[in-house]
Every structure is written in C-alpha cells, then in structure tokens.
Symmetry: C2
Subunit: 206 residues, 2 copies
Amino acid sequence: MTGPRARTRIQARNSGTILDAALDVFSQFGFRGATLDQIAERAGLSKPNLLYYFPSKEAIYVALLDALMHAWLDPLRALTHDGEPVEEVLDYVRRKLEMSRLYPRESRLFANEILQGAPRILDRIEGELKTLVDEKAALIRTWVAEGRLAPVDPYHLVFSIWATTQHYADFDVQVHRVLGQDGDAPYPEAERFLTHLYRAALTPAR
Amino acid sequence: MTGPRARTRIQARNSGTILDAALDVFSQFGFRGATLDQIAERAGLSKPNLLYYFPSKEAIYVALLDALMHAWLDPLRALTHDGEPVEEVLDYVRRKLEMSRLYPRESRLFANEILQGAPRILDRIEGELKTLVDEKAALIRTWVAEGRLAPVDPYHLVFSIWATTQHYADFDVQVHRVLGQDGDAPYPEAERFLTHLYRAALTPAR
DNA sequence: GTCTATATTAAGATAGAC
DNA sequence: GTCTATCTTAATATAGAC
C-alpha cells in the first residue's frame, strides 16, 4: 500500500464509494467515454477529492480491472474432473449465468475493454486467461476421448458459454426491451434454455 | 437529400471515406470515446472538411447506425416457414456468423451502442427489432407445437444465436489471443461447433 | 480530507481565405 | 471543396486555502 487508500475507515469507505461509482460509469461508456465529473457526481464527492484517493482516471480504471480479473475466472477454475462431465459443464454455465445476474456492471466493463481492443488487459488475456482455458480445454478433450462428452471443440464450447451467459448482462437493455420484462425476470427462463442447449449438445450418443 | 452528401461523384466518394473511417473509430471506442480528430486522420481529410460533409459528430454516428440497422436484421427476416425447421434455424446461424466474419466493425458498433444503453437506437429496438423477433418467435412456437423442433423458448434461442455468432466479432481480440490464431481462422471451426450445438438442441426427440 | 479556483490540454465546431 | 486559424466548451489534473 503506497497511496492513502484503505488505511483508515474513512479512506476505505471513500475508496469503495469511488470504485462503485466508477464501475457504473466506466462499464457504460468505456475508459475514454467516461468522465471524472460523472464519477464524482455519482460518488457524491468533488472531482479533486477523487484524485486525492486515486492518482488519475486511469488508476481508478485499472483498479477496477484488477479487481474484476481476480474474480472473473473463478467459475471456470471450479470446473474440475470430480463429477460427471455433462453436469460439470452445466454447473459452469449456471455459475457464469449467475455472475451475469449478480455482476452485470463487471461484465459490461470487461466487454467494453475487449471491444476497445483490450489495451489494458491484453497481457492477462494472453497470460492467466489463456493458460486457464488451455488447461480446461485439455480436461474437456479427455472427457471427449473417454466418450463421456459428445465430440465438441473445447475452445468454441467455452466461447459459446461466455457469449450466451454474458449476453444477459452486456445486452441487458436489448433483452429487456425485446421481452418486455424488467430486472432479473429473464434469468430463470435463460437458465432453463441454456441447460437444455448444453445438455443436448454435450450428452454423448448412446 | 438536404446536405451536400452524395450529389456529385467527389461528394459520394468523400462521404464514403468518412463513414468508413468513422466506422473504424466509433466501433472501437463508442460514440463518446471517439474523436473527430481520429476519424479525420484515418479518412485523410481535415477536421473541418469532415464537417463540410456532415453537420456534426452525432450526424456521422447516426448515419452509421441507420445504415447498420437497415441490414442488421436481414438474416432473421430470411428465416421462413419454407424449409425443414432445424435446417432453417441452422441456416440462420450460418448467416449470422457470416455477418460477424464480413462485418465485424458493424457488429462492434451495435454492441457499443447497446452497452452504452442504446440511447440512439432504443426506438428501433422496441420497434422493428422487437416486431421482427416476435414474428419469428411465433413461427418457432408453431414448429415446436407441431413437434418439428425440440421444445425451446424461442426468444432465448434467438438471444443465444445472436450471442454466439456476434461473439466472434465483438470479442475478436480475445478469441484470437486464446486460440493463438489470426484473421478469419476461427470461423470454420466456429461454424462446425455451432452447427452441432443447435442441431443437437433443436432436433426433436424421436 | 475536502473544497474552490485554476492551469492545461483536448475536442467539437465555426470563420474565412483560397 | 479544402484548408489554416480560431472560438468555445469540456476534461484531466493541480494549487492552495481551510
């Protein structure tokens, strides 16, 4: 800890307030589209006060990305060889969908960063993310080779799970308008649909 | 035609150059994150010259969105009751995937607009897009009722097709880094995977 | 720790010469 | 039609009082 952040109670509280407000703004507008004015207003602090807690706009953004990446891959890490393969993957789908439901802003922050070319996260994509996906892809290949999973490409399977589950957070506005529903209403049906989709596609032919 | 746009040959060419450059920039950074300086540089024109062809930054952006929405729904419109239901949906998946491959910038422009709350496109989401999806959802329900398609929620089916196919354009950087591939390399395998995924999920139990 | 005031740069848009 | 120069506003960041 070099900065003043998180030393005293008031510092911890204000840092948290700032990060929460910043997540609102950055997740909607991306790094360049977001402004400190918006963040300050949403946090109920003055702009200079923001810069007392964080040295720059970029530092706030990077702090958010760091916190995000730390937790983002947890659902995939939990995919192990312990259980029955089809149910293991379905559990992963449900965990990812739950992430979208509980943390839609984090999903949109990530989506915005990738859309903009991932300039501040490319090393972690090529590093920890790729490493983890490679590892789980190998596990999935093993299941396929053992005939316990239908023959699918593990990478594209993972991409499709990311896409379908994150869609409910990233395209949330569209989903709600098309369905004419609000809030978390789409999620139960989404879970039913995705469970059917992946169970049908992954269950090996008998 | 009120503005100078598209009257003479030189006007048509410059308008096209500007829109192409603007698509590059807006699709990456979103409306607020994009700057006229970037667009001007990429178009090889001066900033005031841009504003000779379009009255404002917003006008350029709206022109792009208009052109996009006009073509964006074509693949879904082509889903008709003519053929065999499973193959009809698979054709739709392939058309959407082809859109991602050929027009990734348009896909990212749309994604950015939705992520930012769809402020300039909300009426068309609630209008022509919802109307079309409602219509095709009814068609899919008919197929399900006839036992020619496995029982799935038609709206979430469409969402999943949008998500999985647009993912290859919108998250293109991530896909390429994880796979260690460049250019269009992921598409053939993506098509194989998605064909399997939807064929398995949509084929009715015999 | 927090604020007002302000320096500095960048961005959208316009004026006016050519 | 196109450019240089410039106006105006907004944005990041800092100075310095309290």
